[in-house]
């Protein structure tokens, strides 16, 4: 019996039939297989996102699929697209060819698609697997809530401030994250059934033990909001602000009239955010950002520092504040000492000190974790916590990742499953030299594109199939099928010549011995 597809093509006049009855796959002694190797962007990604995979979906304009892939590791691409510093783009192999892929713009586009096309699940799960309380509605809390809710849990989030979002809402300035996007994202979470309770301080308003009694599990993600105190003289003068207080008041729309000129002390993201925000206030003409170490040692994202300088923030490095001088009660000037780092730490040179006159000082010396919550715990070994509370002040993607991992662990605990395996095999990412760009002429590589899906089509897909079509183009044996927008190897006819393996630009194939 001939297969249907062949039967149709048998010549009615002479009975000639296609050679497809000849299964040439039997000749094979080497077999090409998909390799799925680590790409440099995925290695750089703090969320461990499968960047080449969703890039490929975007390239084909399969937005739903891109969202499905992305949300496995990052449920808030619309937010991270704005606030993340995107270490993924740093090692992008495409940069060695012409210019790195603009990953943030594609990520935002997927996030925007999600916000525009969101539909609540038609059928909500009937049985609820359990209830979880989350303390803190910042990136870690939101992420944990999203994954638990999706897994069929009833989630309640307790927030001590009046607004939901934590660092998203109160720490990050509006120019870095449009509040409309955040509002929409939070509305989706509520729509999916997550309950947010604001203005409720766990430990004082509700005892923590009560949460443990009322819920199956509790996830602690209150962040690290306690400012570090420098202890220098005059720190309590009027006109001296703490950076997070300043940002918090600014972001909640409270009065933040400050006197010109402004000096921001610190080199982290809070310092740069404060400096750029201050410069945007009316009545402020001059902002200086003063950091004790060298510029290269600044912990803030380089893009942000450059943007601040571009906007007119004066950057002074290697200067340590000695004393804040006040005139009456209000701050008047600061005395700085020259300072540099060597192997022993900071070396202060008082002979090269200078005085900086100012009307406002914003101290951004970092935050500390507040462990007072733990005092309420009976058994401190058996709770779930994440985000800045665990890692110390870190980035948004790290907090989102912590929330995801916590959700996995909480699910495993409630359902009595073994702890999830989080450690992955060590792999070295695909290097630029490994990519095969001989077929460059066939691929017709484009320059930087403004439209997201066109930009995504520039992705070389290091180690991941990005459906470039080279294997199909060069297969002499018609052993590559094109099914539903993707290329698949057809082992019935593959003779194992290895052309697809040799020519694959992404190095997404390996040759294995045998059939």
């Amino acid at each position: 019996m001939l297969p249907e597809v062949i039967k149709e093509e048998v010549c009615y006049a002479c009975g000639t039939e296609p050679s497809m009855v000849n299964k040439t796959g039997e000749w094979r002694f080497l077999t090409p297989e998909r390799a799925d190797r680590l790409s440099p962007c995925r290695q750089g990604c703090l969320l461990d996102g499968e960047i080449p995979a969703w890039m490929e979906a975007v390239k084909q304009e399969k937005w739903e699929e891109a969202w499905q892939i992305m949300s496995q590791y990052n449920p808030f691409p619309a937010l991270t697209g704005y606030v993340c510093f995107h270490p993924c783009t740093e090692d992008c192999n495409r940069g060695q060819l012409d210019q790195e892929i603009d990953i943030p713009s594609v990520e935002r586009a997927v996030g925007q698609w999600r916000l525009d096309n969101y539909r609540p699940a038609a059928v909500k799960p009937q049985s609820v697997k359990g209830s979880v309380a989350i303390v803190g509605s910042g990136p870690a809390g939101m992420s944990c809530a999203y994954y638990l809710n999706k897994g069929g849990y009833k989630v309640t989030v307790f927030e001590r401030e009046k607004v939901v979002g934590g660092m998203f809402a109160l720490g990050i300035p509006e120019y870095r994250l449009p509040r409309k996007v955040l509002q929409k994202e939070l509305a989706l979470l509520e729509d999916e059934g997550i309950r947010f309770i604001t203005g409720c301080n766990i430990g004082t308003d509700i005892p923590l033990t009560e949460l443990y009694a009322d819920f199956d599990e509790v996830f602690l993600a209150p962040g690290a909001w306690k400012p570090r105190i420098s202890g220098i003289k005059g720190e309590d003068s009027r006109g001296v602000w703490n950076a997070l207080d300043f940002l918090k008041r600014l972001n909640s729309g409270e009065d933040t009239a400050i006197a010109d000129p402004v000096v921001v002390i610190g080199g982290g993201n809070a310092a740069v955010d404060s400096a750029r925000s201050a410069l945007r206030l009316s009545g402020v003409n001059h902002v200086s950002l003063i950091y004790r170490r060298s510029r290269a040692e600044m912990p803030a994202g380089q893009v942000e520092v450059e943007a601040a300088e571009h906007e007119g923030v004066e950057l002074i490095c290697n200067a340590l504040p000695r004393e804040i001088a006040a005139e009456g009660q209000a701050v008047n000037s600061i005395i700085f000492d020259h300072c540099k780092t060597n192997l022993e730490g900071l070396v202060i040179d008082q002979s090269r000190s200078f005085r900086k006159f100012c009307g406002t000082v914003i101290m951004a010396l970092g935050q500390e974790r507040d462990y007072s919550l733990f005092g309420f715990l009976d058994n401190p070994a058996a709770f779930f916590a994440g985000g800045d509370l665990v890692s110390g002040p870190a980035t948004v993607p790290e907090a989102i990742s912590a929330g995801r991992i916590a959700a996995l662990a909480i699910k495993a605990r409630i359902e009595g499953l073994p702890d999830p395996e989080l450690l992955k095999a060590e792999q070295s990412p695909v290097k630029f030299e490994e990519l095969n760009l001989e077929a460059k002429g066939n691929l017709q590589l484009q320059d930087k594109q403004a439209v997201p899906f066109a930009e995504a089509s520039r992705c070389l897909g290091c180690g991941t199939c990005n459906s470039c079509g080279i294997c199909y183009l060069f297969c002499p044996d018609m052993a590559v099928d094109f099914v539903d927008g993707r290329y698949e190897l057809n082992m019935d006819y593959c003779k194992g010549c290895g052309i697809c393996f040799r020519e694959c630009p992404s190095r997404a194939l390996v040759m294995e011995g045998g059939k």
């Binding site: 050679s19 000849n22 017709q444 018609m478 194992g496 010549c497 290895g498």
Partner: protein, 300 residues
């Protein structure tokens, strides 16, 4: 043409054909049939392709095939064309497919006759540079210095490869072009262009042959690309035998020929003096080609 568009063109070749793994000829005919479409009649002379397409009742192609004796490819093509014309099937494209033996040596007189009469069909020579089907015997398309089964070690092919393109140009055929499998877009464009032209058209396709050349089957495309970038097999077209034009020139300087020779077992143990001689020959041919191209500018 984007690679996606090229991959979406309907395929005329069936899977399950009898070509060796990594066959350049199978790939060449796959592109050829894709470019020319379904209204196609193929004349096959004795060559690898008589084996690749399979024994009746099996066939690897979705178009009618007529097998013919070795020296008669050019004449049978003429006959098929005239027969179809009598039946009123003017729009059917006739393609004569021959290997390098059926073109350069055994089929040369019939080819020359048909070209001289300006018969209305496309003659395609897929050139794997020896009689590969019968066991790798030297043909006049075998390059200087290569070893074949009729020129085993310590012998080697003496004399240079016959310049079939200049022979065709001397017949003043309306269209003649070279192509190779690493540049499928160029190959398809040339065939589509040839299809639009009436009269005798000649396409010379370099098709790497892994068993015959002694290469890894996976290197087919790589070698085909190297043949172009070294200048060993430049891609050009000749219109009316006078207007020469480069179609797919590699960027920058030409790669040294050694890169192309070193991965092929047929050139193994080739002494440096012979490599240099072959390099000189390639350089000379390249310069002559450039001169002809420069001279034909403005006479299009």
């Amino acid at each position: 043409m984007r690679i996606e568009e090229m991959n979406r063109e309907p395929e005329m070749l069936y899977a399950g054909h009898n070509a060796c793994p990594g066959c350049g000829a199978a790939l060449a005919v796959r592109y050829l049939t894709k470019a020319l479409g379904a209204n196609l009649a193929l004349v096959l002379t004795a060559s690898c392709w008589s084996i690749i397409t399979g024994m009746p009742p099996l066939t690897a192609l979705k178009c009618p095939i007529l097998h013919c004796p070795f020296p008669s490819a050019g004449s049978v093509g003429s006959g098929v064309r005239r027969g179809l014309n009598v039946k009123g099937m003017h729009d059917t494209t006739v393609v004569v497919l021959a290997g390098d033996g059926g073109t350069f040596d055994i089929g040369l007189q019939a080819l020359s006759g048909a070209a001289q009469r300006n018969e209305d069909y496309i003659f395609v020579c897929y050139d794997n540079e020896a009689y590969m089907n019968t066991g790798m015997q030297t043909s006049s398309a075998t390059p200087f210095g290569a070893r074949t089964n009729t020129a085993p070690y310590p012998l080697f092919k003496e004399g240079q490869k016959k310049d079939i393109m200049r022979i065709m140009a001397a017949h003043s055929v309306p269209y003649a072009a070279t192509a190779t499998v690493a540049f499928p877009e160029d190959l398809e464009n040339k065939l589509k262009k040839a299809q639009e032209i009436r009269g005798f058209r000649f396409i010379h396709i370099l098709s790497p042959c892994p068993p015959g050349w002694g290469t890894e089957s996976s290197d087919t495309i790589h070698l085909s690309r190297l043949a172009v970038s070294t200048g060993f097999f430049p891609l050009y077209e000749i219109i009316n035998g006078v207007s020469w034009k480069m179609t797919c020139q590699p960027e920058g300087k030409r790669t040294p020929l050694k890169d192309y020779l070193s991965s092929q077992r047929r050139f193994k143990q080739m002494e440096d003096i012979r490599v240099d001689a072959l390099q000189e020959e390639v350089d000379h041919d390249w310069e002559m080609l450039m001169e002809r191209i420069a001279a034909s500018k403005g006479c299009e």
